[in-house]
């Protein structure tokens, strides 16, 4: 192959699409997968291990085993996947030799590239939240179990105005970082705030006398940092919000705690403002009413046998639009939301069902990819097997 007249782009494609990169990226992915498996059973739990190894912001990873950091630096999983996908496209699709014999492998490369791209779309675009409904009630919101937000709203008598939302991405800088502070400006309100002392998991206590050593005390309450559990949904976070009036410079302090089910307030210029920390709230585009819900456990055990619910989707006037049945392995897909039945509780005769609400544009891509890839590989290997079998039989006849 002529080496001269290869411009930079071609050379980049050559390298990125080569066997070298393919093998290195797959081996790296293997090592990252293996190490993250070992690490997730440690104290961090699945949520934080995934953030460390596979999030978009993780350029590099220093693995931890048995509480000790290993003396190696690996590239971050997301980026290895990017390189791997580029390699699939450049090497497995563009540069690959094309011919009738190579067709099945070509198709499987294409479908695997689609799988990876679908995965990226899911990572960036999908959204997931949790909806709890007692039987008979209808809901129009879902909330995240792991991504927290801080909300600020003006309260006027009985009513609350539309809240301003600081979402979890904007809280990243302070989340779990001792000593970090982040300032948030509210141009439409007469104050700005500073968030600090954000504990991933904490317990809130009313003050009795003075606060203990190491606790953060605000207005008769103090928060004690607790060891995060391995399950992010069970951690209850706390933070301190310092409200700074822009005109007068006066400051107020409030303590926010995920376990508090209501706003705490600060009054500025005669107006009451409510502050709250809780899972990101997601208005669902339509209301869902839980008509009935049934759950059964395997007799004599605590193991769930079936969960299922009858729900009705309501239009904006509250009238029934369509009815559905949601079962544990059969979710409800309507418009671009999917509702999965994930939990079921019965307390004192009252039944409550929990649904995971998800939007995922590339929801069905993996299914189509694997069907395509499976068929392609099957064809390819059958052809090879056929060759092997016929040559073996020929050899046996010969012997």
């Amino acid at each position: 192959m002529a080496k001269k007249n290869k411009n930079v782009a071609t050379r980049v494609i050559d390298v990125l699409g080569g066997f070298h990169v393919a093998i290195v990226s797959m081996v790296l992915l293997l090592i990252l997968t293996w190490l993250s498996t070992l690490e997730q059973t440690g104290p961090g739990g699945l949520y934080w291990t995934l953030k460390k190894y596979f999030s978009f912001d993780a350029w590099y990873v220093v693995p931890t085993l048995n509480g000790k950091d290993l003396p190696i630096i690996l590239p971050g999983g997301y980026w290895v996947c990017v390189v791997f996908t580029l390699n699939l496209i450049f090497g497995g699709v563009i540069r690959m030799r094309k011919g009738i014999k190579q067709l099945p492998i070509f198709f499987s490369h294409v479908s695997m590239a689609m799988l990876m791209i679908g995965g990226a779309i899911t990572y960036h675009q999908s959204r997931e939240a949790y909806m709890v409904l007692p039987v008979g009630a209808s809901g129009d919101f879902a909330f995240s179990l792991t991504e927290l937000s801080v909300e600020v709203a003006e309260i006027d008598g009985y009513d609350k105005k539309r809240p301003y939302v600081i979402d979890s991405k904007q809280l990243e800088a302070v989340r779990g970082q001792v000593g970090a502070t982040q300032e948030y400006l509210f141009p439409e309100l007469p104050f700005d705030i500073r968030v600090s002392d954000y504990y991933i998991n904490a317990k809130l206590y009313p003050m009795q006398g003075s606060a203990p050593e190491g606790a953060v005390a605000v207005d008769g309450y103090y928060a004690m940092a607790a060891e995060p559990t391995g399950h992010e949904e069970q951690n209850l976070s706390s933070c301190v919000v310092r409200v700074i009036e822009r005109e007068s410079g006066k400051q107020h302090e409030v303590m926010l705690y995920e376990g508090v089910g209501h706003d705490v307030t600060v009054t500025i210029d005669g107006k009451v403002y409510g502050f709250r920390m809780h899972g990101e709230v997601w208005n669902t585009p339509f209301q869902v009413r839980l008509d009935d819900s049934r759950g059964e456990k395997h007799p004599g055990t605590g193991m769930a046998m079936i969960y299922e619910s009858d729900v009705t989707v309501l239009d904006s006037d509250g009238n029934a639009e369509r009815s559905f049945k949601i079962e544990m392995n059969k979710p409800l897909r309507y418009k671009d939301l999917t509702f999965y039945q994930t939990s079921w509780e019965e307390k004192d005769g009252l039944v409550e069902s929990g649904f995971t609400v998800k939007t995922n544009p590339s929801d069905q891509w993996p299914k189509y990819s694997i069907y395509a890839c499976g068929i392609a590989l099957f064809v390819h290997f059958i052809i090879k097997l056929f060759g092997f079998v016929s040559s073996s039989i020929a050899r046996n006849k010969h012997d």
Partner: protein, 667 residues
């Protein structure tokens, strides 16, 4: 002797060693370490009674099963074995689970002497101040020996429960103690099951009304009778003495009634799924803490009929009552959608014991193939080969029948839990290696097939024994989808099988190169390499399809395609590694040695994915396969395979050097 012949003899001796060690393992439990305990005067139960009693229905672990199955797992959990051996009047006696349950329930003077509590570490007994002189560190104890220390047992258990509640972790010995405590609870539940109703309240000639001669009569009319009894307690007089005696009798029976945790009778309401268990109901009811329960009262009456049948008429009486009871219960079970209609089938499955029986043709087959290796081209060799094929097919049929029978009983596809994977993988390995043998006729694949089959069946037995839990358990909600269960789980399991058998062939390659077998026949090693290449493709196909189908299933059920959890990650690792092998070979980075060494590594990864991920969050906290000794076995396997990899690497490097020196380089 040519190097080829030495190699064949090495292979033969190796085969003998493998067979011998397997036989020794089975024999080790029958080797009596200490003198067995003496229980004089013991008589064996009537076999008809044992069969009838054993085929009664019991609801346990979420499903209805024969009493014999339930008894078998109770005994396994306590004793580590499904049989009990002791000496009686100079003769050795061996009894099975159903007989043991009969002894506990009706003749506990014998049962309490039997040494059924297996204690892994005598330090556990030190914690309750129990002496263990004359016993080994890991030994068995009888209820009689432990019974003297029940107060200590209770006290310690409460202590540990408090510790657990405070979130403190228990150490190994404390964990084992809790295991022992749970076993004691099971024992007492069984041995006290009939105690409240074993005897009449009064003989037939007594002045008491006929219903009141039975304990169940008192229970049924308790609200009125208890008033009568308490007023009688205030008064004096001889008749009052009699009534006071009755009160005491009732109190004793109530006290003994709280331990029973056995569900032997279906409820009257066909919609109700759970069968009633007595537990604390009788005690609460007689103290007016809870109301009457028709099912519980019927349950008590039925148990009374059985118990009195034995007390007053011996084994014949009990047999009669058991058959009558089964007749009554059969109607109820039919109304409940045919619950328990598979009991006979299940009893037959355990009797046939497919997996255990398949060991015979497999071990034998391995020896026969090894014999054939000595002189493969002769008539002797061909006869051996034919016999081996017969044995292989026979063994395969047994394993398959076992898998199918279990599927039918559980009404689900063949693989539903970890235990199920073992016979299934064994069957796939036999099938694939059998097919390879038919194609290539080198006698290598068939030998490997026998080796794997034997290993697989041993693994199944070992796993079942150490878990001590019925592996035919109902599925959790998310698995209750037969389509996905059939496709995803089976595909992944076939992928595991592929990875293991490919590595097996690579072992043959490395050993044959090490011992210079078949050096005179270059096509032999080339053949092995081609088979391994095919095996890697096979593994890739099934693992990839299985892994992604698993993701599609997860996405449909819970809304997330890939969650990076241990089981998923394990499967991904296998897929990635097989891809690496194939692409590295295509790029020319690895050749023969490279492929075989990589395929040994593949075995390590399959083991990680199949077994190791299940142990990750448990640590070394309990004995038995699901804990310490399972992890130890896994690590020993890793070490062994690592050794093989080093041998392979060494040979590859030294051979490469000598080749370079001797021959012109091939392209």
């Amino acid at each position: 002797m040519t190097s080829g012949k030495i190699g064949r003899w090495v292979g033969f001796v190796f085969a003998l060693l493998v067979a011998a060690s397997m036989l020794l393992y089975t024999a080790k439990d029958s080797m009596i370490r200490r003198a067995p305990v003496e229980i004089d005067g013991y008589t064996q139960w009537d076999p008809d009674l044992v069969e009838a009693f054993g085929s009664m229905a019991v609801q346990d672990g979420g499903r209805v099963k024969p009493l014999s199955t339930w008894a078998g797992f109770e005994l396994l959990a306590l004793n580590g074995k499904r049989s009990i051996k002791f000496k009686s009047d100079g003769k050795s006696v061996k009894i099975g689970p159903t007989e043991w349950v009969l002894d506990m329930m009706f003749r506990d003077e014998f049962a309490n002497k039997m040494e059924v509590f297996q204690v892994e570490d005598a330090n556990v007994l030190d914690m309750i101040g129990m002496s263990h002189e004359g016993k080994k560190r890991r030994d068995r104890y009888s209820y009689l020996e432990i019974g003297e220390h029940l107060h200590e047992v209770d006290r310690l258990r409460n202590e540990l429960a408090e510790k657990r509640q405070k979130g403190q972790e228990l150490d190994l010995v404390e964990d084992q103690f809790l295991g022992l405590y749970s076993n004691i609870q099971s024992y007492v539940s069984m041995s006290s099951h009939f105690n409240p109703v074993k005897n009449r309240m009064a003989d037939e000639g007594s002045p008491l009304a006929p219903e009141l001669q039975l304990f169940s009569g008192w229970v049924e009319k308790w609200p009125q009778l208890s008033q009568f009894l308490s007023s009688a307690a205030q008064q004096e007089g001889a008749e009052m003495d009699g009534l006071r005696r009755v009160t005491n009798m009732i109190a004793t029976r109530i006290g003994e009634s709280v331990y029973s945790d056995i569900a032997m009778m279906p409820p009257s309401d066909p919609e109700q799924k759970s069968w009633p268990k007595r537990q604390g109901w009788l005690s609460h009811y007689m103290q007016f803490k809870t109301g009457p329960d028709a099912d519980q009262i019927t349950y008590l009456k039925e148990m009374e009929k059985l118990a009195l049948g034995y007390t007053y008429d011996g084994e014949k009486g009990l047999l009669k009552e058991v058959n009558a009871y089964k007749g009554r219960v059969a109607e109820k079970m039919k109304a409940r959608g045919g619950e328990g209609d598979k009991i006979k089938s299940e009893i037959m499955m355990y009797k046939l014991d497919y997996f255990y029986r398949s060991l015979t043709p497999f071990v034998l087959g391995f020896l026969v193939v090894a014999f054939g290796w000595i002189a493969p081209a002769t008539r002797w060799g061909r006869v051996c080969n034919r016999i081996a094929w017969v044995l292989l097919v026979y063994g395969f049929i047994l394993v398959t029948l076992g898998i199918v029978h279990r599927s039918i009983l559980m009404e689900r596809p063949p693989v539903g839990n970890l235990y199920d994977t073992i016979p299934f993988i064994t069957a796939v390995v036999i099938l694939v290696l059998g097919f390879m043998e038919w194609l290539t006729k080198r006698r290598v694949c068939i030998g490997l097939a026998f080796f794997f089959a034997t290993l697989g069946m041993f693994l199944a037995m070992w796993y079942e024994e150490s878990k001590g839990v019925d592996p035919m358990n109902p599925l959790i909600a998310v698995l209750r989808s037969n389509f996905w269960l059939a496709t995803h789980v089976i595909t992944i399991t076939i992928g595991y099988a592929g990875g293991l058998l490919t590595a097996g062939i690579s072992h043959v390659y490395i050993f044959s190169r090490l011992f210079k077998i078949g050096d005179d026949d270059k096509s032999f090693s080339r053949f092995l390499t081609r088979v391994v290449y095919g095996g890697v493709c096979f593994t890739l196909f099934f693992s990839l399809v299985g892994t992604i189908l698993g993701g599609v299933w997860a996405n449909d059920s819970w809304g997330r395609f890939w969650g990076w959890d241990p089981k998923e990650n394990g499967a991904l690792i296998i897929v990635l590694w097989t891809l690496v092998i194939l692409h590295a070979r295509m790029a020319g980075y690895i050749r023969d040695w490279g492929i075989h060494i990589c395929s040994i590594l593949l075995a390590i990864m399959v083991t990680f994915s199949w077994w190791h991920v299940n142990f990750l969050s448990i640590g070394l906290h309990n004995y038995g396969f699901t804990g310490g000794s399972g992890l130890k076995a896994i690590w020993s396997f890793y070490t062994l395979e690592a050794l093989v990899v080093f041998v392979g690497l060494y040979m590859a490097l030294t051979q490469g050097k000598s080749k370079k020196a001797a021959l012109p380089e091939k392209a």
